[in-house]
Symmetry: C2
Subunit: 497 residues, 2 copies
């Protein structure tokens, strides 16, 4: 290995060490932090962020990257690492320290305003802070530059290469394809899912969720599961990946599909090449591909009949009183009930995409100025009426429900839908390439699907962008028809359409 | 506040943030880290240490400290902060980055050699790494400088102002005063402590230990208790202080006095002034004073009759089967049984000091060259025979039992004894100043003693060195007679001497 490249690795790993230390502090904040520790923890995290930012903005690193970018002795992986790092470096340089600081202060202010507004169920309390945040994000878009829509500049932050043009086309298909199908489902008699809402002992739910993670292939020697208010996955390196979950004693669904979902994220992180720690080849490629992994496990596998052919008899043994009189079919239908709800995180895998569509259209409008924060609540409520037929009752179950905007996360939401669509496309490809896949799953054997994901997706880290990766794996770039076909086949059967 | 002082605070708090982030990572390593995560965690910790060291070695900080050290506008606390920081800064500058790195590598190598040697119960496997470590520590002593004994230079690292001269005198008193007293006790019939070794349910032990911490005044909104292999206390700031403990189902003593001990450390940390975060006035003054707090709670209070007058009836209710036929007196005697053992951490509060004396004499000899690593095991075994009458059976329960030397912690052990002796002196003073103290404790009321500790010790952080603080609190510097009197009174009564 040449000396410049070795120095590059050292510098990048130092930055990764600082960022991952911050990730440990964040994880601890969600799982363990005593109440009074929050203020100092915030300070400690801010110091680490600044340090990481400064290390990455280091001029020596810039010179080194320039040199390495024309170094013909590098191999393909090394070249891709350098070109991706250089791209990030140049982007990072566009942010002045002052602007980073402004964003960080606004984010903190906006978060506290949001908490207060939620508590009092009053959007007006959040409005000024959100206005400031949006104005900063508009500045950020100008600073980063874009060709057709300011939102493009921000989308790129969460999903390299995503644009308004691409998403408009995609969500048009959601409207023309998915909406009539959902309408048809909703015109049927609703399914009965009360069996999920019996009382299930907390410890036994916890034990069962661990057994699911174990079966999926989650390596407990390189990770753990804990409890937190909102489930999430974090990784400090491929050898230490942590998921969190939450238990509701009166809703069996909660821990189960949240553990499977986070487990999908975690398998991706555990499958990244540890020897590329700190380098692009050692990092997940994008939020949408990350989400494709969690949703493939949660929905395509974890809400499938094969999966529960294996696990449901076990579950009946664990909870005989609650489940002995309920068939696998009843259980399968319960977990796949389609129904509208005002809350995104409580929605099913079909109506979910209208929650995202609504946020996408609103973010676009906020960035272009077509929607003002002053009109935001009305725009939100009108969109819920239009797309989901729902009358929003109050701010908390309406415009105040998500945390994303507090932290300036404009452009994040679309990656959730992209994740589902990629998942459908990947899973269909996997089924074609692994003929006995569903039979394997019905026997509780996930080796083949995990191996397929590891080989086709995980091992590459971020060497390929989402679309490039998708094409390599499935032969074509993202195609919404895969999701539509999956939905029609599965729910056509369940609802006998 | 003047601008220079403000800059000084900013710089010091940045360093504190990095060090405390490292402390979070260390805590997580002991409580949560999955097995495979150890290597990357080591790397992340090394990066944070280097960053903290570099920030503290920063020339600008040096210039600023020089300026502030002659600034007459500062108040008393500010002046003490500056002079103490300047002292640390100048000491830190004596270490080259190369030497710091050498020490860190040797420490890691030595730790792994120790683990291996323990596993195979073979001191010879540890010998080469320990030799290297001692040679480095001898270099360190030269580099730091000393007037009479190289060990003085290292002692100062753990206990500012401690010297061979002072410790020789102290341990002479241990030999002439404590040894004959212990001999007298050991010539009596041994006490029966089997009641502690019944089966006690783990969860119930855990609950009881939490109730003890709560009663002592540990603030669970500013801290928590977790489980780990070896109990310890760590603090990320006064608002987030964490203790750990361990449960042995067949030994009630373990969790109980370890939780009280760590609780004593934690109360000190929670009592430090949060507004002095990152500055000397916000930090504990020394290891010995820290240990005085843990041991005052563990022994002077927690192994006292008053304490259990309150808690023993509760304990009998929690464990009726095990305790209903055992009187408070039997329980009190059980927890205060004096007996020799080869293992330091399993020893009682009297023979303990001979374990320390042995280590002190050996460390002195290793540093001066009077003892070589080659003869270490023989020196160890001979000393255990001489002072405790014990034949050491194997290396694991002999010279390999402690972790301290792996990490170069020569000079650490004496602070344990100093802690006990300070504790006796502080507690005797507290009894004199709070006339109804024992009665309060017998009613489960710890407000007065905690207030006394807060007012006399905690609030000052490290503004005063150990001896200076001791004199302020008790009127005299450390006097071994306080401990001797405490021992004679308590154990004279128990053993009816």
């Amino acid at each position: 290995m040449n000396n410049n490249y070795r120095t590059y690795i050292e510098k990048m790993q130092q930055i990764a060490d600082i960022r991952n230390a911050a990730a440990v502090l964040n994880w601890d904040e969600e799982t363990n932090l005593p109440e009074k520790g929050a203020a100092f923890r915030g300070k400690q995290l801010a110091t680490l962020s600044t340090l990481a930012h400064d290390c990455f903005a280091d001029k020596e690193l810039g010179t080194l990257l320039q040199k390495l970018s024309t170094d013909t002795t590098l191999n393909e992986v090394q070249k891709r690492n350098i070109s991706k790092t250089l791209e990030d470096y140049q982007k990072n340089k566009k942010y002045s320290s002052k602007f980073v600081h402004q964003l960080s202060v606004a984010s903190s202010r906006s978060y506290h305003a949001w908490i207060k507004a939620r508590k009092e169920n009053n959007f007006a309390l959040y409005q000024p802070a959100l206005e400031e945040m949006i104005s900063l994000k508009q500045q950020e878009a100008e600073l980063l530059g874009y060709t057709s829509h300011p939102y493009d500049a921000l989308l790129d932050d969460f999903e390299k290469g995503a644009t308004v043009k691409m998403l408009d086309r995609l969500f048009d298909q959601v409207k023309t394809g998915l909406q009539p199908f959902i309408d048809k489902i909703l015109s049927q008699l609703p399914l009965d899912n009360r069996l999920l809402h019996q009382h299930f002992d907390k410890n036994m739910q916890w034990e069962f969720s661990l057994s699911l993670l174990q079966a999926m292939g989650f390596d407990f020697k390189a990770g753990r599961q804990d409890l937190s208010e909102h489930p999430f996955t974090t990784s400090f390196n491929a050898q230490d990946v942590r998921v969190t979950t939450r238990i509701d004693e009166n809703d069996f669904a909660f821990i189960t599909w949240s553990s499977i979902h986070e487990g999908g994220h975690a398998l991706y992180e555990q499958g990244l090449p540890a020897d590329q720690y700190g380098l692009p080849a050692g990092e997940a490629t994008s939020l949408s591909i990350h989400e494709s992994q969690s949703r493939l496990w949660e929905n395509n596998i974890g809400r499938g009949r094969s999966f529960w052919k294996y696990f449901y008899p076990q579950l009946q043994k664990r909870f005989p009183e609650q489940l002995k009189d309920n068939t696998l079919q009843a259980f399968y239908q319960s977990m796949n009930k389609i129904q509208t709800t005002p809350i995104r995180t409580e929605s099913d895998e079909l109506t979910y995409h209208f929650h995202i569509l609504i946020r996408y259209e609103i973010e676009k409008g906020l960035l272009s100025g077509d929607i003002s924060v002053h009109n935001l609540k009305e725009a939100w409520n009108a969109a819920y009426k239009k797309y989901l037929g729902i009358d929003i009752q109050d701010d908390k179950s309406g415009v105040l429900q998500d945390i994303h905007w507090c932290h300036g996360g404009f452009g994040y939401f679309p990656t959730y839908s992209l994740g589902s669509f990629y998942a459908a496309q990947f899973y269909q490809t996997a089924i074609q390439q692994i003929p006995d896949l569903e039979r394997e799953i019905a026997q509780g054997n996930f080796d083949k699907i995990l191996h397929w994901l590891r080989t086709n997706i995980h091992q590459y880290g971020s060497l390929y962008k989402s679309e490039e990766l998708c094409k390599r794996v499935t032969g074509t770039t993202l195609d919404f028809n895969f999701f539509m076909n999956y939905a029609q086949k599965k729910y056509g059967e369940i609802y006998q359409l």
